[in-house]
């Protein structure tokens, strides 16, 4: 316990960490977008009345969902070595979280009352219009907080991108820590930045959840 905590290192490493934080945020926002869109597509495909579609889609999502993100990232990086690491990172994060989000959408779609489907039928709406105008607006509205929570979870998993050479916040913390031998300060700071960003967002999601009447 004779370690001298170095406040100077905290101050000096902060700009580097915030630099990396930009990349962290970028990856989170784009990754969440990919996941939200892809997840919706998967959820709707799961409703197609043909087992030729639903069975492979379900098997694939189950596989992606049950295997480690880190291995998927490293594997994709090694196989597609001509693509930029950040792009691979965003794509893999998006695909991984799409497998979670598709389940959330599915629950949301299942929760739309049967009468809504029947009403569409009675009004002889096309399937496309049924989904677009009636089912999805209700389903998506109900699951927004759950999607947001996955966004937060993804945010906390973005440090994995450091493994495929994307220089995000934790990579910066590690590099600065290694150069000046101040790991304790930089990693603590990185953790606190994560907390400072994710906690208020999760409170926001909880409020949204209450507002939507869960």
């Amino acid at each position: 316990m004779n370690y001298q905590w170095d406040w100077g290192a905290v101050r000096e490493s902060l700009p580097y960490l915030l630099d990396g934080f930009g990349i962290t945020l970028l990856a989170t926002v784009l990754g969440t977008l990919v996941a939200a869109v892809l997840g919706l597509v998967v959820a709707v495909l799961g409703r197609v009345p043909s087992r030729l579609v639903t069975v492979p889609v379900r098997a694939l999502t189950e596989f992606v969902r049950s295997t480690p993100l880190l291995v998927q990232l490293v594997g994709a990086y090694a196989i597609f070595n001509s693509i930029e690491p950040l792009t691979i990172g965003i794509a893999v994060l998006g695909i991984h979280y799409a497998s979670y989000m598709s389940e959330v959408y599915r629950a949301g779609i299942d929760a739309v009352p049967k009468g809504q489907w029947e009403a569409c039928r009675a009004l002889s709406m096309s399937p496309r219009r049924t989904w677009q105008a009636v089912i999805l607006p209700q389903a998506v509205r109900n699951v927004l907080p759950a999607l947001g929570n996955y966004g937060i979870a993804m945010f906390k998993e973005t440090p994995f991108l450091a493994v495929i050479t994307v220089v995000e916040m934790v990579a910066q913390a590690r590099e600065y820590g290694a150069n000046h031998f101040v790991y304790a300060e930089t990693f603590t700071l990185a953790g606190l930045i994560f907390l400072a960003a994710s906690y208020p967002t999760s409170l926001l999601m909880r409020r949204l959840e209450r507002r939507l009447g869960h």
């Binding site: 480690p68 880190l70 594997g75 869960h214």
Partner: protein, 247 residues
């Protein structure tokens, strides 16, 4: 393809030892997480205000600071601060235990809240002591509610174990990546690795489903259909946060 698999089976003993480390980290991490879930869950559920506040702060802290950062902190920063080095596996077990314990405590709290009020009142009316009430009436019912979200957390924990590779523990991912370097068969190596994790996750799911059936039968409830093809439900992240909400 042939190269990789012949190398794989020639060095199967390394695979077993890597698999052992992965399973060890998962099981020990889950044990720590389970214990912490109950400690913090009970604190948040029934303690006096300062105790509840304390558990809230601890839980939010471990959920809010990324697992990855916690693990690196334990491995790189802890020895600097305290002059004491932790083994990689120990770091992993501790970090997994604390992180997933924090998530699990919300599951415990939610499940305790979800046991109907009347059950508590009936136990009081029967003059049971608080310990009897908890052990014989409340917990068995809450436990059934906890198992599905615990299953999801357990799978998440398993999927976090490759992180140990980054702090030099020789677990499954480390071993297979080594094989890949030796054979140059990138696609087959990673595909094999993913399939191995999938099989592990599936085995854990089946075990937890059996546990759930057993817990339900003990309550005299119908164990429900499903069987082998019954997979995990939607993860419904952190929904248990809304106190009292059915899971």
């Amino acid at each position: 393809m042939g190269d990789f698999f012949s190398y794989f089976f020639d060095h199967i003993s390394q695979v077993w030892s890597g698999l052992r480390v992965t399973v060890e980290a998962t099981v020990l991490g889950a044990a720590v997480a389970l214990a912490l879930s109950f400690v913090f869950g009970f604190m948040a559920f029934s303690g006096p205000l300062p105790v509840r506040g304390l558990s809230r702060v601890i839980v939010e802290f471990f959920r809010g600071t990324s697992l990855y950062v916690q693990l690196f902190w334990l491995y790189y920063a802890f020895p600097l601060l305290f002059g004491y080095e932790l083994s990689p596996l120990f770091c992993g077990v501790l970090a997994f235990g604390m992180n997933y314990g924090a998530y699990g405590s919300e599951v415990v709290r939610g499940a305790l809240n979800a046991v109907p009020r009347a059950q508590w009142e009936a136990a009081v009316a029967l003059n049971m002591t608080p310990l009897q009430r908890m052990r014989r009436v409340i917990l068995p019912q809450a436990w059934v509610q906890m198992i599905p979200p615990f299953t999801n957390l357990l799978i998440q924990l398993l999927k976090a174990t490759p992180l140990l590779w980054l702090i030099t523990a020789a677990e499954l991912t480390t071993v297979v990546q080594h094989f890949r370097d030796r054979t140059g068969e990138t696609t087959w190596a990673y595909l094999t690795l993913l399939v191995m994790y999938f099989v592990l996750a599936y085995a854990l799911t089946l075990m937890m489903n059996a546990l759930e059936r057993h817990a339900k039968i003990r309550l005299g409830r119908h164990p429900g259909g499903g069987g082998l093809l019954h997979s995990r439900g939607a993860d419904a992240p952190r929904r248990s946060e809304t106190a009292g909400g059915a899971l």
